[in-house]
């Protein structure tokens, strides 16, 4: 029995934990931008952590649920409603056959993850149901969810009690000013020492161009480059390099003006220098940043990056334990 999509919000896509293994062909891993939120929502409703759910940006969809199901919404504070009655985020709630799931206005964050018991059961492509619209992979026929779609549900969810909830201290949203930790590297040597300091000293703001491919930032000082004769086949602009691979989370700054952090649907390569990479522990957070959010890039070394990664894993393990 399917879910009937009545309205789809601004951009609602089917996402799971993605399709690693094809980046060398220009097919990114994709999957939920905030992986912890998707995992938590799935655990709340008794799904495998990697089951496919819906990722909604800023505005929630309106869905008719045609069979009894358990639902959970994690990530952004996008308050859910069942037949107009409010429900809690980060908490499992029951929806009966024929009831309508809808959402109130966004309170904080940017992306809400909606898990439904059984998981969305569209056909996987290259091992994932995640929507990658540029390559027409996954999702509903390779695209985002639209009104009139019917989404099949799988079965096999474990029974969960209504009211099961992720403890408050294990939920994470962005603060008022976000901090993104960056390990300098890649083509860090291309900018001057002053520019290296300014990049971390300045407060940036999330620009309007902020999507699954990447987040653009504005408002810091223009970065100055170390002078050189451009290598053969690199473009003429000092920010150009011979086209190379782009790490997930890498920070490119075309012409030294507006940094772009590549995310889950990254282009796999190109001709812009990168000054470093946002550490893995902070990637989920990026998916929750709204445009205009003040953002500070914070310089870290590899040891701190690995410690942060372990802390993040510990948080996820604590969520698993709390919900088991």
């Amino acid at each position: 029995m399917p879910i009937n999509v009545i309205s789809a919000g601004i951009a609602t896509t089917i996402q799971d934990l993605g399709r690693p293994g094809y980046y060398h062909l220009g097919i990114p891993m994709g999957g939920a931008m905030d992986r912890l939120a998707l995992r938590a929502a799935n655990l709340l409703v008794g799904n495998d952590e990697g089951a496919a759910g819906l990722e909604s940006v800023f505005v929630g969809p309106e869905l008719e649920i045609t069979e009894d199901a358990m639902v959970a919404v994690c990530g952004a504070e996008l308050p859910p409603k069942v037949d107009g009655e409010p429900r809690e985020t980060w908490t499992a709630f029951q929806v009966r056959a024929g009831q309508v799931l809808s959402f109130d206005f966004l309170q904080s964050g940017a992306r809400a993850y909606i898990a439904i018991s059984g998981g969305i059961n569209t056909p996987p492509m290259l091992g994932s149901r995640s929507t990658y619209a540029i390559g027409a992979l996954g999702g509903v026929n390779g695209r985002a969810v639209q009104p009139g779609d019917t989404l099949p549900l799988g079965n096999g969810a474990d029974a969960r009690k209504e009211g099961l909830s992720v403890p408050q201290k294990l939920r994470r949203g962005p603060g008022n000013a976000a901090e993104l930790r960056v390990l300098p590297g890649l083509y860090w040597h291309r900018i001057t020492e002053a520019a290296q300091q300014n990049f971390f000293a300045d407060t940036w703001k999330v620009a309007n161009e902020a999507d699954r491919m990447g987040y653009r930032f504005q408002g810091g000082r223009t970065l100055e480059f170390v002078e050189r004769e451009q290598p053969f086949s690199a473009g003429a602009d000092p920010s150009n390099i011979t086209d190379a691979c782009y790490p997930y989370g890498s920070v490119q700054v075309p012409s030294g003006t507006e940094p772009i952090v590549l995310h889950r649907d990254a282009v796999s390569g190109g001709g812009y220098f990168m000054l470093g990479t946002v550490i893995s522990a902070d990637m989920d957070l990026i998916g929750q940043l709204q445009p205009h959010t003040p953002t500070q890039f914070v310089r870290v070394d590899m040891d701190s990056a690995l410690t942060a990664r372990h802390d993040r894993t510990a948080t996820m393990n604590a969520i698993r334990e709390a919900l088991s």
């Binding site: 220009g26 390779g142 690199a234 190379a244």
Partner: protein, 290 residues
């Protein structure tokens, strides 16, 4: 010695050379092959690029410094490897100056260096060709190496197999277009490319191929094993075709009877460096020997 640097806690990025050379590309390809063959636990993605490469790994499985040491050890081995590649040469038909890229380039004229000429007229002129026909002869005369697959969905970057003075160089658009027809044959810097899907792009547009190179539904006959056609190390020979042949090829693709023309070849970088035109003639001989 290559330059090693970390891309966060999950990537190692290795720059073989700042500039594009076939030597650097060969090191990148042999290194990435060596990493794949080594089967290092914790390595999750192996991505060769033009003159560099990138390894993605799980730091919970292998420590970043341990992987770095392992890669450096493999580089020593790769440096001694034969600079020989068993690969294939493929003919890609191109309808140069087609109506679809023409329509698109006219829409974005204000983003171009030379608003009063087409992309290919501009490219011919700044590369010293006195006609577009001669430019097409140069673009389709010598073969090309697929030196990287990526950006999006199986898009190949192609590097011209000629000596540097003869290499075509064309800057990208001043500002990227928001639209490029699917299967456009493009040019930016010293790379040709084929746009695998419709979308934004900054490369100059010269023509279009009737031959799909990415098919997520895997309905195209020669893509039913895998949805992406190209891999790094492929060699490409462009063949100019007219509208009639283009339409015929499109109909064949739809009917499932189009078979890309290709041959297995062995490429030796040392032979190539000793005699570029002779090596190219042999490669094309293999393609057209029936």
């Amino acid at each position: 010695m290559s330059r090693y640097t970390f891309g966060g806690d999950e990537h190692i990025f290795v720059e073989v050379d700042e500039a594009m050379t076939l030597e650097a590309f060969f090191v990148s390809l042999s290194m990435t092959n060596a990493v794949r063959d080594a089967g290092i636990k914790g390595v999750t993605e192996i991505c060769p690029a033009n003159a560099s490469f990138q390894i993605k790994f799980d730091p919970d499985v292998i420590r970043p410094d341990d992987l770095l040491a392992e890669l450096k050890r493999l580089e020593a081995t790769a440096e001694n490897a034969d600079r020989v590649l068993d690969t294939r040469i493929i003919e890609i038909p191109v309808y140069y100056q087609d109506p679809w890229t023409h329509e698109t380039l006219m829409r974005f004229r204000e983003r171009h260096q030379e608003p009063n000429a087409t992309d290919i007229e501009y490219a011919a002129s700044i590369n010293g060709f006195d006609s577009v026909e001669k430019f097409i002869e140069a673009h389709s005369g010598a073969p090309w190496f697929v030196s990287m697959v990526g950006f999006v969905s199986g898009l190949p970057f192609l590097y011209q197999m000629v000596d540097r003075p003869r290499q075509i160089k064309v800057p990208k658009y001043l500002r990227p277009r928001t639209d490029t027809p699917r299967l456009t044959v493009g040019y930016g810097g010293s790379f040709s490319c084929i746009y695998s899907v419709r979308g934004a792009g900054g490369y100059q547009m010269f023509g279009i191929t009737p031959m799909p190179i990415f098919d997520p539904e895997q309905k195209v006959s020669y893509l039913n094993d895998f949805m992406v056609f190209f891999k790094p190390g492929d060699i490409v020979k462009f063949k100019p075709i007219d509208r009639k042949s283009y339409d015929a090829a499109v109909a064949e693709v739809q009917a499932g009877s189009f078979a890309p023309k290709s041959s297995s070849v062995r490429f030796s970088l040392d032979d190539y460096n000793a005699d570029i035109d002779g090596t190219n003639a042999k490669l094309m001989g293999a393609l057209y020997a029936d």
